[in-house]
């Protein structure tokens, strides 16, 4: 535990507010994520979890407050700039290139990371490391044999795996996963969590999750988002015992 406390904060979220034309979705969110930590954000539906992710990943600009990544204020920067700073997110609803095959889906991010974005002369496969890296990521998420399959023909579980593979394709240091197990069966969820645990080794993970078993087995730290702000942050056992959390979240879930 001591070693963990000495680790540096990689991400600091400071007093983030977000209004959508008068509707206050986030009302002052504060939390920190340490390097190589697995940090879960939980909270009842409508608590603003996805909005928070959209702000950290650059999809929305915050109404006020700041996001600090490795000591640098990154609030309001565009998604592509954040991706190049090694922050990458997944989507709750699978958001991939449906008409392309699995390999091409992942290679898009890998070649971007290798600087093959707008090149008029080189073909996407012209750098061997790009193809190797793509194969490596596909193997990590268990899609090694599905490279040639068009994304739209994948099973639901495979689509979710591809979603994570695309997120990993840019070699992120900070990975944001938005409900990666949404819509999965119990067995699929257990497999998915094993895979997520494996692929995020030595990286920092922030994950939004509904499944409490998943949260308590995967996360080092849990932050509970309730009514637009963080109710409490702490280690899983602390959160499990916290009366406010029981009232706000677990009670509601049980009821």
């Amino acid at each position: 535990m001591k070693a963990m406390q000495e680790r540096k904060d990689i991400l600091q979220v400071r007093d983030i507010h977000k209004d959508f034309s008068g509707l206050k979705v986030l009302t002052g969110v504060d939390f920190e994520v340490k390097e190589n930590e697995k940090h879960a954000i939980i909270g009842p539906n409508g608590a603003g979890k996805t909005t928070l992710f959209n702000i950290i990943s650059g999809k929305y600009k915050p109404s006020s407050g700041s996001i600090i990544f490795k000591g640098e204020d990154i609030s309001g920067r565009s998604p592509h700039a954040l991706t190049r700073m090694k922050i990458c997110r997944s989507f709750q609803m699978t958001n991939v290139f449906k008409e392309l095959n699995v390999f091409e889906n992942v290679r898009a991010g890998v070649r971007c990371d290798h600087g093959l974005r707008y090149n008029f002369l080189k073909r996407p496969g012209s750098i061997p490391e790009v193809n190797e890296k793509t194969e490596e990521i596909l193997a990590l998420v268990g899609l090694a044999d599905a490279g040639e399959t068009p994304a739209r023909e994948l099973s639901y579980g495979q689509q979710r795996a591809l979603e994570i593979a695309v997120t990993l394709s840019t070699e992120p240091e900070l990975i944001l996963l938005d409900e990666p197990t949404a819509g999965m069966t119990r067995e699929e969820t257990i497999e998915a969590i094993k895979m997520i645990d494996k692929v995020t080794a030595n990286r920092t993970l922030v994950i939004i999750e509904h499944d409490m078993d998943v949260v308590f087995s995967l996360a080092d730290t849990i932050s509970v988002l309730h009514n637009g702000s963080i109710l409490v942050s702490g280690r899983p056992e602390e959160i499990r015992e916290d009366q406010r959390v029981k009232d706000a979240y677990l009670g509601e879930e049980a009821g």
Binding site: S57, P79, R84, F91, N95, G109, L116, Y118, F120, P124
Partner: protein, 332 residues
């Protein structure tokens, strides 16, 4: 693997088309050779337009602004700079078009869909107005004639005024640029364009600046249209207001839609058909625009995937029948 196969395909097709292009003018009349030259020029114009419409999903109603800038620049520089060479004029012309593409593109890059289409139309109208009103430079409604400079390569002197010689120059230069466009669709940039159309949001989240990729593509297609436009002027040794008109923008839209936006070869077919049809019908009747209009309406209503789509589905049907037969034989 996929890339290698398509690269071989690309070379194979390229060589085939070049051989046909080299042999074709040998057996036909001068008039036909001039028509072929026109087809090659318009094929590039249509291919450049399809990179916008078919590959990037951007509907422009103003592509003639670049064609026209290319056409006018060549005429203007040849009239004002004495001793300017053939290639010098073409170079200046495509440079000016590229700058125009960058200027217009920077103002358009955040727009897509209907606003993009309307803005391109408005810009085309603006360029058209400049060409009509700036009489001292553009000649207004009278247009501009040029004296076509010959090409001196040192070891050979090419008389560009000769229809066949000009055809071969066009085939070589425009033909190679069209081949490069084909290659382009398989490069990193070409694939980026396709991926942005497919899912722009995800492209942003894997690190692409999609505004930049749209701008680069827009400038590139403007450059290509400008090159086609400059050869249009060189071919006719004249340029008129029609080169930069909304009509010209409509013609390229029609060529691409008739040929089919779904393939690289479609717009080339579209250019061939459009120009031959126009030539054929205008020989028979003065009412040719009416008949062409009817044909286009029919095509858009009943052959929405265009000629290349028609060929594809015909090919699939043939293959399907063959598959069916062979599978029946197997069962027996």
């Amino acid at each position: 693997m996929i890339n290698q196969r398509s690269f071989a395909q690309f070379l194979g097709w390229g060589i085939f088309v070049l051989i046909v292009g080299v042999v074709l003018p040998l057996g036909v009349r001068q008039y036909q050779v001039a028509l072929l030259t026109e087809i090659i020029i318009f094929a590039l114009f249509a291919v450049s337009y399809n990179l916008l419409l078919g590959y990037a999903g951007l509907l422009s109603f103003g592509h003639a602004m670049f064609f026209g800038v290319g056409a006018y620049t060549v005429a203007i520089v040849l009239n004002h700079i004495s001793g300017l060479s053939f290639f010098g004029a073409v170079m200046i012309s495509v440079m000016v078009t590229t700058v125009a593409g960058f200027a217009v593109g920077s103002l358009l890059l955040r727009h897509k869909g209907v606003p993009f289409a309307l803005l391109t139309l408005a810009f085309n109208a603006l360029f058209y107005a400049i060409a009509t009103k700036w009489h001292s430079i553009t000649g207004g409604d009278d247009g501009l004639s040029i004296r076509l400079p010959d090409i001196n390569l040192g070891f050979a002197h090419l008389k560009t005024g000769d229809i066949t010689v000009f055809y071969y120059i066009t085939l070589l230069i425009i033909g190679s640029v069209i081949l490069f466009c084909w290659y382009f669709t398989r490069t990193a940039m070409g694939q980026t364009v396709l991926l942005v159309r497919e899912n722009e949001e995800r492209m942003k989240f894997v690190g692409y600046n999609t505004n930049v990729s749209r701008l680069i593509l827009f400038v590139f297609t403007g450059f290509l249209a400008g090159l086609a436009g400059s050869f249009y002027t060189l071919h006719y040794q004249f340029t008129s207001i029609s080169a930069i008109s909304i009509d010209m923008s409509t013609i390229v839209v029609l060529m691409v839609i008739i040929g089919g936006t779904g393939s690289f070869i479609g717009p080339i077919l579209g250019a061939c058909v459009y120009i031959y049809l126009q030539d054929f019908l205008s020989d028979i009747t003065d009412r040719w625009p009416f008949i062409m209009g009817l044909i286009f309406i029919f095509m858009i209503l009943y052959v929405p995937r265009g000629l290349s789509g028609l060929i594809d589905s015909f090919g699939e049907r043939l293959r399907g029948r063959w598959h069916l037969r062979s599978s029946v034989e197997m069962e027996e």
